[in-house]
Symmetry: C2
Subunit: 361 residues, 2 copies
């Protein structure tokens, strides 16, 4: 298939801005007349430091990150942060975890190795189909932090509010960072694996309140210490240079579209179109409760696993790729990240309509 015959609904790694890919291809063998590729640059060279600084500066501007917070560009993915967060912040004490999906469950389990984990709320009993409201959040006095995952990629729910808690707020924004305005000053720490809205897999963005840095447990690996990484400008060792370059190109695209305000408008435009159709269909069933629905990942199913499977293969033949649900949730899932054109959502709805007409009994 050609690129314009395909819409890629993968949950991550996922669709990237075509302009970023075109620039990367054009500059592949010779970056800005240097005669070398970005992949061949010393991370200690002025040329790479410029790319790094520029990516950080753009992110700071786009997300309005206050000077109280440091932006780190790290390796290891969210799973590494599941350990790094307690190792740096729990100090052998307590932490509260809001468990609203697959990855917050995993984060809470990993944190148990390093301190006392308290479940602030959980929607596990109802298949993670909703986000608890503020009044349901249980807080532990003296907790080192309160942890939640802003958008649940697997189950298709998203926090519609920022929890108000006493402890520093820690948030996994892997699947909705840069898709809407965020008041960073409310957070002790925000982190995100890059492979949904920012860059290829292999980069993790951590935005941390500098006043929380320097509390790590004694056996914390140097590479997982926020203090070490703040002190070394994210370069204790060689950073994932190519991913940082792609982040920079993607941020150019976000800015050109109008920044996070534009991303927010577009995410609603895409998601509303799909939700409106699904809500009015008696053929498809939505997984997430209306008050908790994600703009990034829409989870749904037909009447049977067999039909779901037929839906996926028919979609692929029509160029609508990766609509199968996550293995722990089953069913179907359409991920509509920043770089998904509105036309992709339209094409999905058209296909859904057609499939419904052909298979409704």
């Amino acid at each position: 298939m050609t690129r314009d015959q395909v819409y890629n609904f993968a949950a991550g790694p996922s669709v990237m801005p075509e302009s970023a890919l075109r620039t990367a291809a054009a500059e592949m063998l010779n970056y800005h007349g240097s005669g070398i590729s970005v992949m061949e640059m010393s991370h200690r060279s002025a040329m790479f430091q410029d790319i790094f600084d520029s990516a950080v500066e753009k992110l700071k501007k786009l997300m309005s990150v206050p000077d109280t917070h440091e932006i780190l560009l790290l390796q290891g993915g969210a799973t590494t942060q599941f350990a790094a967060i307690p190792m740096n912040l729990i100090q052998g004490g307590d932490a509260d975890y809001a468990v609203t999906g697959n990855f917050s469950s995993k984060a809470a389990k990993e944190a148990e190795k390093y301190g006392r984990v308290h479940i602030a709320c959980s929607s596990a009993d109802t298949g993670f189909e909703h986000i608890p409201v503020q009044s349901e959040l249980r807080q532990t006095a003296g907790a080192g932090y309160f942890y939640y995952c802003a958008n649940n990629t697997v189950y298709g729910t998203e926090w519609q509010y920022v929890p108000e808690v006493s402890a520093p707020l820690v948030c996994d924004m892997s699947s909705d960072i840069l898709s809407r305005p965020v008041d960073v000053s409310k957070y002790g720490l925000i982190y995100a694996g890059a492979q949904k809205n920012m860059a290829p897999a292999g980069l993790t963005v951590v935005i941390v309140d500098k006043s929380l840095v320097g509390r790590e447990l004694p056996y914390t690996p140097q590479i997982l210490s926020y203090k070490t990484m703040v002190d070394s400008g994210s370069m204790l060792n060689t950073p994932p240079c190519w991913c940082i370059y792609m982040l920079s190109l993607t941020l150019d695209w976000v800015e050109a579209q109008g920044g996070v305000a534009a991303m927010d408008r577009l995410r609603h435009e895409r998601a509303d179109m799909v939700y409106d159709f699904l809500e009015n269909s008696s053929f498809y069933r939505l997984h997430a409760r209306a008050d908790s629905r994600s703009c990034m990942n829409i989870t749904f199913r037909t009447g049977s696993a067999g039909l779901d499977s037929e839906f996926v293969s028919g979609a692929e033949a029509a160029g609508l790729m990766n609509l199968k649900g996550h293995k722990v949730a089953g069913g179907l899932r359409a991920s509509l990240y920043n770089a998904m054109p509105v036309e992709g959502a339209k094409a999905l709805v058209e296909y859904m309509k057609k499939f419904e007409v052909e298979h409704h009994v």
Copy 2:
């Protein structure tokens, strides 16, 4: 500058095979008719799993990795392994470290957090200018492993023999992996950051004897557990997909050149040319002792820091990039990794000659 006007002597990230870069550029927007970029592929897709499996298979074949050993493709760089190795293998007991340079010093220091570290040998007193011989290696009875770094990127020395020790042998091969044949069966664990001979920064290859897996300390982060990574086929979480793809393309190039035997011949061809010239010059001084010299990183200096600096800027103007020594060692350094053409070494010698003639007093 154009690409053919430049030779890049960076110590890592460093020069890559042009064929790999050309393929990456050509496939950037549409991998094999899929309509998407490798950077946009779900790591759980059959298409990406093929790329992953193919990279592992090629590495297994090129390095003759026996079935007793597992190949892991991870994130985090060598610095992450500095902690992961003791966390997985020391079991709160002892480990021996051969300290022959910058990175083995750092590895030994990090390991002290997790057990008793014994210095098996050290060439620190003489500026890390040589590798101790077998009879100088002190071993601790019952040590969990014996650790060494095969090639010292910063100081330009390389082990010319494989240590014979009782404990499982653990080796950092970051800067000479794939440059010569290695008997993998002699090792408990080999690891290498990819950014010198294999792929862009952001990928770490770990080759581990499966019988050593499953001994991690209780507080080991899941992401650093070899057992977890063996069990999940390196995909506990999203791997650094793009780097793995570039590894696969680079391995195609290594194979096309004639594998590690050809790499070994070429590394000597390049390095011998430069060492022969430097040895016969009264203007330049070599850092490494003759019996310990690295084929990958050649460390040398002129008579003064001022001249060194002039050497570097003159070289850059002539398209010979990144010849400045590492900050902890000073002086000059030419890194001649696999992808450096023999012509690059020739051009370097020509420049050295010219510089000597112009500056010798």
